[in-house]
Amino acid sequence: MTSKRKRAMGGANWSLFVLLLIALFIIINYLSFRHFKTYDTTFSDEFSLSPQTKKFLKELKNDVEVYVLLPIGDVGYEKVSRLLDSFKVESKRIKVEYVDPERDKGRYEILLKKYQVTNPDSVVFVSGDRSRWVERDEFLEYEYSMFGEPPKMKGFKGENSFLNAMYDVVDPRKPVIYFTVGHGEKFDFDESGKGASFFKERLSKEGAVIKTLQTAGLKKVPDDASLVIVAGLNIPFTKEEEGVLERYYEEGGSLFLLIDPMFKEGNEIEFKDSGLEDLCKKYGLELQNDLVVDPEASLLEGRAQTFYGVDYSSHKITYDLMKNKYPILFTLARSLNIVDPQSSDFKCEKLISTSEKAWGETNLKELKNVKKDNEDYAGPLCLASLIENRKNEKSRMVVIGDSDIISDGTILSGLGGNTIFALNVVHYLVKMENRISIPPKQIKSSSIVLTSTQIVTNFIVVVIIYPLIFAILGVWVYFRRRR
C-alpha cells in the first residue's frame, strides 16, 4: 500500500532524503564544474576571447597542459585563471594545474627543472614533448609611477602571449624570413638588429628564422623563403632585382614592401624612384612621390608628418586593431594610389588610410611652411595596401608607404599598435593567419570626477533624505494600522 510506503519514507528516513538530496546536489555541481560556459556582459567584450583564439582552441587536436606557477594573490593570478577558464570553455583539451611556489614547493621545483623554466613567476604550456614558458612580463603591462609607488597593472596581454605559446607547442613550424640588403637599408637585420631591434626580437620570439638576402646578382629567391621583406631602402632596385622579386611573387611567394619617400642625394628637395614602381603598378598600385601630412591625426602640434592612421579596413590584419581603436603611428610616409591593374588577376585593397584633412605634399622646397595646394594629392590617402593574386592564392603582398612603422623609435613612442600591425602583416604573409596578434586588454579605470559641492549634495540626497523617506513611510503605516 502506498500509505505504508509513504509512512516508511516519511517517518524514519529523513536522513536518507537528505543524503539523496546532497548526492543530487553534488552530481549537478560536478557536471557544472566539468562543463561550463561563460557569458561576457560588458559592452566592450572585456572578457571575451578574440575569434582567432576561439578558432585555435576549437581546432586543437592535441592536449595542452598548462602549469600556472604563480603565487596565489599575485597581481596577475586572477586574470590568468580567468583567461585559462575561458580557454577551457572553448576546448576540452586544455588542462590547467595551479602550482603555488610557496605551498607546493616540491611540485614547483620538479616542474621548474622538467621544463627548464628560469623565471620564477611563469605559466608553462606543454604539449607532447614540447614546452614553452611565458614569464609574467610577457602577459602583464605595468605602469611605473615616479614617486616610488608600486607599479600598477596597466594592461593584460595574456591572451596573445598564451596563444603564441600554445602555437609553439602544438605547431612548431618556423617560417624563414629574408630581409633584402645592399640598398642602403635603414635597418640591420643581421646580428645587431640596429634600428628595428624590437621588431626583430618579436619575430624571433614568434618562431621566425631571420636571414638577409643580397639581391645584387641574384637569380632566384631561395626556396626556403617564406617571405621577403624590403624595408627602408635608400638605393633603388635595379630592373634585374625587380624582376627576381616579381617572379618570386607570381610563383607563389610573399612580399612585404615598406617603401619610404626617397630623396635625391645632396639636394634633398627632389624625390627619386625606388625601382619598384613598375612592379607595384603592374598589380594596380602607384607609389606616389609625396610626403603625407595629416594635421587632424598628428601626434604633436606643428609636426603633422607624424600621425596616426585613421581609417582601418575590416580585413583580419587590421580588424582587432580597428575594434580596439589601437593607433598605428606613421612618420614621413608616402601615399599609395590604387589604379587599374595590368591584369584582372590582381586586386588591390586598402588597409589603412589617413583622414580627409590629410594631403600628400609634393613640393619639398617649402617644408618649413607646408600647406595644401592644388599640386598636392588630396586626402584621404591610402597608406598601406594589400595585393591579391587571383591566379595563385599563395602569392601575397603588402605594400606600406613608410618603413618607420617598424623602427625602434616609432615603436617606443607609439602605443603598441605598430608592432601588432607589422606582426599581423607578417603572419598573414607567411600564411599563419591564425597567429595574427591580438591587442592587449586595457584595464579600465573609472573616470568620475566630482566637485566638492557635488559630493556634499550626494551625501545629503543619498545618505540622509533617501533612507529617511522609508523611515517616515514606516511610521505612517504603523499609526494607520493601529487606528
Binding site: D40, F43, L450
Partner: protein, 246 residues
C-alpha cells in the same frame, strides 16, 4: 498557483504592515548610501584605483555580505518560526494546500522584499550615469543578477532555518551560521592548494560575486547558486512533511 500567491500576499502584508520592514529598508539604504558616498568621494580623488563604484557595492566590500546576510535573515526568520510559535501551522497545514506551495509562497514573499530593497539602489546607477557618460551597463546588469541569485540562495537558507526553529532568534542564529560558513569557503580556498582549492574555488561566493560584478556570467556560478537554492527549498518542504510524522 493561486494558493501559493495567497501565502505570498499574506507574508507581504506581514512585512509591510509591521514597522520592521521600514526599519530594515531604512538601515539598508542608509548603509548602502553611505558606502556609495564614500566610494564616490574616494574615486573623485586623483590616483583612484581602476574600479567601477558600483562593483564595490555589489560584492566588492565586506558591507555587501553583511547587508545581504542581515536582510535575508531578517526577512526569513519569522516565516516558519512565527507560525510555529503562534500555532498557526495547524490551520495552515490542515488546509488544502501542498507543503511545496506553502514553502514557495513564503520564499517568493521574502524574495520580493529583497528585490524591492535592491531596486531602490537603482538610484545609485542613475547618479553614476549622470557623472560618467560612457558607463557600461553590462556589468551593472550582471551585478544585479548575481545579487538576486545570491539573495535567492540565502533566502532559501533562512527559510529552512526558520522552518526547523522554535523561535525567530534560533532561526536567525542558524541561518547566519550557515551563511557565514558558506562565505568562509573563501578562507578554506586560501589555505588549500591543488584540486581541493579548485573545488573550494567553485563554491567561493566572493569569487562568484566578483565575476558578476565585473560582467562575467558563468554557468558554474549560476548552477551553484540555483542548485543551492533548490537544495534548501527541498529541505524546507521536507521539514514540513517531517512535522506531520513526528
Amino acid at each position: 498557483m493561486n494558493k501559493l500567491l495567497a501565502i505570498t500576499k499574506k507574508e507581504l502584508l506581514h512585512y509591510f504592515y509591521s514597522p520592521m520592514a521600514y526599519v530594515v529598508l531604512w538601515a539598508f539604504l542608509l548603509i548602502n548610501g553611505f558606502l556609495f558616498y564614500v566610494i564616490l568621494s574616494a574615486l573623485s580623488k586623483t590616483a583612484s584605483p581602476p574600479v567601477s563604484p558600483l562593483s564595490i557595492i555589489f560584492g566588492g566590500s565586506f558591507f555587501f555580505y553583511l547587508l545581504t546576510i542581515v536582510i535575508t535573515v531578517v526577512v526569513t526568520m519569522r516565516l516558519g518560526a512565527e507560525e510555529r510559535k503562534q500555532g498557526t501551522f495547524e490551520t495552515l497545514l490542515t488546509s488544502p494546500i501542498s507543503d511545496f506551495e506553502i514553502v514557495m509562497g513564503k520564499f517568493l514573499a521574502a524574495f520580493i522584499f529583497y528585490v524591492v530593497a535592491w531596486l531602490f539602489t537603482l538610484i545609485y546607477v542613475f547618479i553614476v550615469k549622470a557623472y560618467q557618460k560612457d558607463l557600461d551597463f553590462g556589468p551593472i546588469i550582471s551585478s544585479y543578477l548575481g545579487t538576486l541569485l545570491l539573495g535567492m540562495f540565502f533566502i532559501s537558507i533562512g527559510l529552512f532555518s526558520s522552518m526547523i526553529s522554535k523561535n525567530q532568534i534560533v532561526s536567525a542564529v542558524i541561518a547566519t551560521l550557515i551563511m557565514t560558513m558558506l562565505l568562509g569557503i573563501t578562507f578554506l580556498e586560501f589555505i588549500s592548494s591543488g584540486v581541493t582549492r579548485e573545488i573550494f574555488h567553485y563554491f567561493d561566493i566572493l569569487t562568484i560575486m566578483d565575476n558578476f560584478s565585473k560582467g562575467i556570467v558563468d554557468s558554474r556560478n549560476l548552477i551553484y547558486l540555483l542548485s543551492g537554492t533548490a537544495f534548501f527549498i527541498a529541505l524546507s518542504e521536507k521539514s514540513l512533511e517531517a512535522r506531520r510524522w513526528q
